[in-house]
């Protein structure tokens, strides 16, 4: 397993480096293009540097708490996780800001869609490979150093241990805490990158659109718009760095959920009639990592295949091709590996119903579920299908009906994915128990490298379009970048489906681990069963409150975007009013001021939502105890999945409904329908790009924080203390 893991990480990071060099080797274009690209680079660099500085303060606090209350190993793992996530985000953003201008220039030089697509995908692949590579590198280091070298994975160590300070009652399985620390590190960075980047990008986007496009009548990405550089910076910090960290966190979350679950199950079954053997334990912990490694290698093969051959002029087909190739290779490689890996094992005693195939079949189920969820997302958000066309058609009757129809579309879109998820959970559980469910989550994200590459290519193409527009390049260039950007919008919606689906599956495994951790030593009792009593008033109350939390979280996020966007609108209006020369093209607008407004807004507003995610399980845990938090997790998970699907798909439908009209339907640009559709799109923007993607991180942060802290608040909480007086 180690060999495959190392090979995969080396291959992924090596190819990322090669692709990075190839991107850098491309010509950056004219002086004007380079000047615009430089402004975007500087804005993105400055924001991410400031953001990481702010996160560092909070990360140090979490690190200290982990080191004191849990263990220094968990604290170190937390740092490794945060570093991996931050590094992947930084590298992806850096590459994207170098690639954007080169994509524009490739389109300028060749006027070939295929050639331009190749450069855009090269840039995106660096982010994808960095996500896959760094996620596995960090996890490999944590498992190897703490699990193997320091012995936390040894069977005798996979038992409940006391806190190193000797605080009575705080007991947990060290290995589960260490890997959870790693996951928490990834999640914290992902949360800040997603929330901060999301607020940044939408504030800039809305500011640019509301004043520049709607009030002043200037086209998208026009250099006279003061917010246009901020808008392009936002694409990089939100849609590249934010997306990369988000999917890295999802990937790690899925892996961790399996490792923690196996560790808990090993401990729980140790005293039972059919205990897990040491060999079984090792294999069940190794298989997710092996699966991840083979998935990563498949993606390396897929990406290399795409880059060495001549690209056609059909970007959608090319991108689908590389995704499908990587998915098929993953299925084949992991199937062979599963056959070899589990040969001779007594699979039935591990709770697997279809022999060696069980974990693999569950993962394949996850892959298929991911594809189906992606297709459902495409159905509801692409204007090739009825729901989005209906949103566009409703725009003929005005903005109110655009919004109503978009909401209906988003709500309708929820049932399909949840039916798929429900079926997947049942089937995966039938094949492989809760471990099977965790494997389904891993399967769903096993080719995350390609998913992120495809998703990142979108904002790079979008930025290239912006640079082409600002540099006033030939219309052929802009048509090429617009074409690439349009495909990117659909792939982004599909990617979100994968992130949400995997979050739901991983959350279930983490939730099972939570119940094990809550039980502590009792989990090893022969009569212990994994039951959450929903009739318990504390659990039920927790579920009710938990269901409300994603709404509070989303409301705060939308408010944050609105606040930052308002400041941007005021600034852009003021610049136009102060200096009419901006509109006549005689004077350049103050781009820097808008970049600073977006940056300051995002940095100011991102803390509260992130703190809600981290602190709510702790606060409720110390007040009401573990049963309440159990309910809280269930409620939050269910509510957040629905809300995430709804926001992502409604936002996508509004966006593409507008694009459908812009392609000439219902009067095209300038029509009443278009005006209504623009309003719908503006409403949907913060939903799909800020709220939706942040919700799946919320689920996992809350799950991991609860898992790490449950042994403490199960022992020390106000509710138990008060009721002890009443008894």
């Amino acid at each position: 397993m180690n060999v495959w893991l190392i090979a995969a990480v080396v291959a992924a990071l090596g190819l990322a480096w090669v692709n990075f060099r190839i991107v850098c080797g491309q010509q950056p274009g004219t002086d004007k293009m380079q000047a615009i690209a430089k402004a975007i680079q500087e804005g993105a660099d400055a924001f991410l540097r400031l953001q990481y500085r702010k996160i560092a303060v909070i990360a140090v606090l979490i690190l200290l708490v982990l080191a004191v209350v849990v263990s220094w190993q968990a604290a170190v793992a937390f740092v490794i996780g945060a570093s991996m996530s931050a590094t992947a985000g930084w590298i992806g953003m850096k590459t994207a800001t170098l690639a954007n201008v080169r994509v524009a220039n490739k389109a300028r030089e060749t006027e070939s869609l295929g050639e331009t697509l190749k450069v855009a995908f090269l840039g995106g692949s660096v982010m994808g490979l960095a996500v896959g590579g760094f996620a596995l590198l960090g996890l490999g280091v944590v498992v190897y150093v703490f699990g193997h070298l320091m012995g936390q994975m040894r069977p005798e160590m996979l038992t409940v241990h006391g806190n190193w300070l000797g605080i009575p009652g705080i007991r947990d399985i060290p290995f589960t805490m260490t890997v959870s620390g790693y996951a928490l590190g990834c999640s914290i960075i992902a949360m800040f990158n997603r929330v901060g980047g999301g607020i940044y990008t939408k504030a800039a986007d809305m500011g640019a659109d509301l004043v520049g496009k709607m009030e002043a009548g200037i086209p998208e990405d026009d250099p006279r718009n003061p917010a246009t550089i901020a808008d392009n910076v936002g694409d990089n910090v939100g849609d590249v760095a934010g997306l990369g960290s988000d999917l890295l966190e999802s990937y790690v979350g899925a892996m961790i959920s399996a490792l923690v679950l196996v560790s808990c199950q090993f401990f729980s079954r140790a005293q039972s009639a059919s205990p897990m053997t040491a060999m079984q334990l090792e294999k069940l912990i190794a298989y997710p990592l092996l699966f991840g490694a083979l998935g990563l290698l498949s993606c390396v093969v897929g990406i290399t295949t795409m880059l060495v051959r001549k690209m056609s002029n059909r970007p959608h087909r090319e991108l689908n091709g590389v995704t499908m190739l990587s998915a098929v290779l993953t299925i084949v490689f992991t199937g062979i590996a599963g056959r070899v890996f589990f040969s001779g094992e007594d699979m039935a005693s591990m709770g697997f119903s279809v022999g060696w195939m069980s974990p693999w079949a569950c993962a394949v189920l996850g892959i298929l579920a991911g594809i189906v969820i992606g297709k459902i997302a495409e159905y509801y958000t692409s204007f090739d299908f009825r729901p989005t066309k209906a949103v566009a058609e409703a725009s003929r009757e005005g903005a109110a009906l655009t919004i109503t129809q978009g909401m209906a579309c988003g709500m309708n879109s929820v049932i399909g994915p949840v039916l798929v998820l429900g079926t997947t959970i049942i089937l995966a559980h039938t094949f492989g128990g809760l471990y099977g469910v965790a494997m389904a989550a891993i399967g769903m994200l096993s080719f995350v490298t390609v998913t992120v590459s495809v998703d990142t290519y979108g904002p790079i193409a979008d930025n290239a379009g912006g640079i082409s527009e600002m540099a006033q390049l030939n219309h052929h260039v802009r048509e090429i970048t617009d074409n690439l950007d349009a495909v990117g919008n659909t792939t982004a919606a599909i990617g979100k489906g994968f992130a949400i689906g995997s979050a739901a599956l991983a959350a279930l495994s983490l939730f099972a681990s939570y119940i094990y951790a809550q039980a502590g030593d009792r989990a090893a009792a022969p009569d212990f069963s994994l039951i959450l009593n929903m009739i318990n008033t504390l659990t039920l109350s927790g579920a009710v409150v938990g269901a409300g939390l994603p709404y509070l979280f989303s409301g705060i996020l939308i408010e944050a975007v609105a606040k930052a966007a308002r400041r941007m609108v005021q600034e852009v209006r003021e610049q136009f009013a102060r200096n009419p020369g901006i509109m006549t093209g005689e004077v350049l607008p103050n781009y820097r001021q808008c970049v600073e407004i977006s940056s300051a807004g995002a940095l100011r507003e991102m803390k509260i939502p992130a703190l809600i995610a981290v602190l709510s399980p702790l606060v409720f845990g110390f007040i009401f105890g573990a049963e309440f938090v159990g309910g809280l997790l269930i409620g939050t998970t269910l509510s957040a999945i629905m809300l995430a699907l709804y926001t992502a798909n409604a936002g996508g439908a509004w966006d593409n409904g507008k694009k459908y009209i812009e392609s000439g339907h219902f009067g095209g640009k300038g029509s009443e329908a278009h005006k209504a559709a623009v309003i719908g799109d503006t409403v949907g923007d913060p939903l799909k790009d800020t709220v939706g993607p942040s919700l799946d991180i919320l689920i996992k942060i809350m799950s991991v924080v609860s898992l790490i802290s449950v042994s403490i608040f199960a022992k020390y909480n106000i509710y138990d203390w008060l009721t002890s007086f009443m008894r």
Partner: protein
């Protein structure tokens, strides 16, 4: 510094002397003067002083500022200007977008065949009158005939001169599916437009039927089909609108500002 004469015809009729070039004048009038203004504008360059206007005063007042900046505008008249100018002196016509970009339409000559019968004439014309009145009308007459009819003293409701554009007609949602960007003509006005067309087709004696009395704020350049016409009796000037393909090659930025691309 040269003084240019501009006849603004939309949204307001005025004769203006200015030391700005047509492009600078376009930017100044649409976005450059009043803070935060954004207004579409159509104007025609006037090649020679003519008509009953205060030319001497214009020559005296339209001089550079003390600091050397050119005089941007001196209004000679804001009422009944078009009818008092000689058609021969009309130069290029400029379509200015809300964000100040302008497209120059070249004037080929007076009384060309395009005025009388466009190649793609299908029996119905949709005309946006631009100056001195602003309604949107349908007519069974081709542009030249329509202009002559509207400016004939024999007609009870006539104007001395009329500037108008012919617009593309889409009367069914199916037509809009093939990429016809008909902007604000779509939907709510479609049924009404159809009934107006039916009425002028049934009553051949009816020279024109008003579809919309003003239609000023909703008019967009993307709707223009063949070009802009200026008629005075049998005289007709025509400024042809470039095709989409030509616009894409030669005026892509203007096309984006005009929401054509």
């Amino acid at each position: 510094m040269q003084t240019n004469l501009y006849l603004t015809v939309f949204p307001m009729e005025a004769l203006i002397a200015s030391q700005l070039s047509p492009e600078a004048f376009a930017a100044y009038m649409s976005v450059g003067a009043r803070k935060g203004s954004a207004e579409a504008l159509i104007f025609i360059c006037i090649n020679k002083e003519n008509g009953p206007f205060c030319w001497e005063e214009a020559r005296q007042k339209c001089v550079p500022h003390a600091d050397g900046r050119p005089k941007r505008s001196f209004y000679l008249s804001i009422h009944r200007v078009l009818e008092n100018l000689d058609l021969e002196t009309m130069g290029d016509l400029y379509l200015v977008t809300r964000d100040g970009r302008c497209l120059a339409l070249q004037r080929p000559g007076i009384g060309g065949g395009e005025c009388q019968m466009p190649e793609d004439w299908d029996g119905i014309g949709l005309y946006k009158e631009l100056c001195p009145v602003h309604p949107l009308v349908v007519s069974c007459r081709p542009p030249g005939d329509f202009g002559a009819y509207m400016t004939s003293p024999d007609n009870r409701v006539s104007v001395p001169s009329l500037l108008f554009a012919d617009l593309r007609i889409v009367t069914t949602p199916e037509q809009s599916q093939v990429g016809s960007r008909v902007g604000t003509l779509f939907d709510r006005r479609m049924e009404h437009l159809k009934s107006c067309i039916e009425e002028v087709q049934q009553r051949r004696d009816k020279g024109a039927k008003i579809v919309d009395r003003s239609y000023a704020s909703r008019f967009s350049y993307g709707l223009i089909k063949n070009g802009v016409y200026l008629c005075r009796g049998q005289q007709c000037l025509f400024w042809p609108m470039p095709s989409r393909d030509i616009l894409k090659e030669t005026a892509y930025d203007w096309g984006r500002s005009a929401e054509i691309f």
